[in-house]
């Protein structure tokens, strides 16, 4: 973990720079969750809809949506693959994503189908992750989404 501003950022993980997912890759499978910055900038999550379990989806395809008090947005695949499992606890208690984005607030697990082509497009490595996170934090803050 590295501290960036007030955020604990797990720099051992891959990050999808568009959708702000973290991706923990283990061989041909991965666990996916939302970055601390996306949970912060959305505010308290109140509902999550997940769809496509067992299906093979391409990178960027929607597998559901997530709703906060004043915002709703799609969840888009960070990598191509087949969704093997959703975290059922977050459908009962979406606030888990706010409280523990790297732990109990994970979203789904998947089998990767195009890892060799797509994983290099993710952000990885201490320096790169921290630099990307800092840039995103500034961008989000400039948009007025982060408390001061």
């Amino acid at each position: 973990m590295k501290k960036v501003d007030k955020y604990e950022v797990d720099t051992s993980l891959f990050y999808d720079p568009q959708a702000h997912f973290w991706v923990r890759i283990d061989g041909n499978t991965a666990r996916v969750g939302l970055s601390p910055l996306i949970q912060e900038s959305n505010g308290a999550f109140v509902a999550i809809q997940l769809e496509g379990a067992g299906k093979e989806l391409a990178k960027g395809e929607s597998f559901g949506s997530i709703e906060a008090e004043k915002h709703v947005g799609p969840l888009k695949m960070p990598l191509s693959g087949r969704i093997t499992r959703f975290n059922e606890e977050i459908t009962e208690n979406p606030r888990l994503i706010n409280y523990d984005p790297y732990g109990d607030g994970w979203i789904m697990e998947m089998e990767l189908t195009r890892a060799d082509e797509e994983v290099p497009g993710l952000i990885f490595g201490d320096h790169n992750v921290v630099q990307w996170f800092e840039q995103e934090l500034k961008k989000f803050s400039d948009k007025g989404w982060i408390a001061q």
């Binding site: 308290a44 709703e67 007025g144």
Partner: protein, 362 residues
């Protein structure tokens, strides 16, 4: 009428008004006191401030998140489905000053509580001493009388809102009077409405009217005509069930009904649509909108570019709606009931479908 007595509270020990208030989630976001974003980007500067007490609101309205008998501790209760962060009044005023260029309208919402009046005065003084943004008070009639309303006006409050909500005595009684603990009186609300109108003047008093509490279409239209005749503004709200409230399972008004009421209210307000233009069945459901005036026909043709479907609220200094309450009557994942910005062209296309005007204009 004798207002509720002032209750002495040890404010220095408790996070209660006047030293602390709650603010809407959207207000907290606009003031950067809380992180968050809106589903669509737009400028927001309507700050809603809610008085806060340990024992909460002493009323018990069936639809309200703050109702006395709604389960749960008062400090954990949501209001309009979302949390209202508790903040220090001084810090809030500092923040509003810091963001003064974005502020469009400020509003102090009272709750029915014995300290509401004196605390409103304290908070109002703090605000008007440092900000020029227009200030409204959404009042709790049981704690008010003529003198107290006059005090607000003398301090610089420019508009008074009354949360009547239920537009007929029968509906009011059902949800606000015949309740487990903390009943309110229809006559008291109207006394305060008329006193406010007298003290604050024409178009400076607004009445919150909620669609979907059991009233008929005719009930809604009748109160619009009455209020406009008296130069009082009706503000429109769509009932949105609050979880765990007594009306948690009560259905929302159908979108078609809601849209038609929005449109007709706009036609009455801006284009002097007359009662004769509206026909109802025996149950009070709107069955026909007869328009012979060419101006109104044209307005309907273009749906006035979506303006009738925007949020009703107290004005900003430039005369636009200053209090827009984003996502107050619907979830972000639902169709906008009232738009906190001018609807986009694709929104207007959707609204036109929802209106199904061909069913009532023939």
């Amino acid at each position: 009428m004798i207002p509720l007595e002032v209750i002495n509270t040890e404010t220095e020990k408790k996070q209660i008004s006047p030293d602390y208030v709650r603010i809407s989630a959207a207000s907290a976001m606009a003031l950067r006191m809380r992180s968050g974003r809106f589903a669509r980007d737009f400028d927001f500067g309507g700050i809603n401030i809610l008085l806060n007490y340990d024992n909460g609101c002493l009323a018990d309205c069936g639809y309200c998140g703050l109702a006395r008998t709604r389960p749960g501790a008062y400090e954990d209760k949501s209001f309009i489905r979302v949390e209202w962060p508790l903040v220090s009044t001084d810090e809030l005023v500092d923040r509003m000053v810091e963001h003064a260029d974005k502020m469009t309208r400020l509003c102090i919402s009272q709750v029915t509580h014995g300290s509401a009046h004196k605390d409103t005065i304290e908070i109002t003084k703090k605000i008007v001493s440092r900000l020029d943004t227009p200030l409204s008070i959404l009042c709790a009639p049981p704690v008010l009388n003529r003198e107290r309303l006059q005090e607000y006006k003398d301090l610089g409050v420019d508009m008074i809102g009354v949360g009547l909500d239920a537009v007929t005595e029968k509906v009011f009684r059902q949800h606000r009077t015949d309740v487990p603990n903390g009943s309110l009186r229809w006559d008291n609300y109207w006394d305060i409405i008329h006193l406010s109108r007298e003290i604050f003047g024409p178009w400076k008093v607004n009445i919150h009217t909620v669609v979907g509490l059991g009233e008929t279409d005719k009930d809604m239209m009748d109160i619009f005509f009455y209020l406009y005749d008296n130069q009082i503004l009706p503000y429109l709200f769509s009932f949105n069930p609050e979880p765990d409230s007594r009306m948690a399972n009560w259905p929302k008004a159908a979108i078609k009904r809601w849209r038609r009421i929005q449109l007709i209210k706009h036609l009455i307000e801006k284009y002097e649509l007359q009662p004769e233009a509206l026909e109802y069945d025996e149950a009070g459901n709107l069955t026909r909108l007869k328009v012979e005036d060419s101006t109104i026909s044209e307005v309907i043709e273009h749906l006035d570019e979506g303006i009738p479907f925007m949020t009703d609220g107290c004005p900003s200094p430039d005369g636009e709606v200053g209090c827009t309450r984003p996502y107050g009557s619907y979830k972000p994942s639902e169709q906008y009931r009232d738009f906190p910005f001018k609807p986009a062209s694709n929104d207007v296309v959707q609204i036109r479908k929802e209106l199904a005007l061909e069913e009532i204009m023939y």
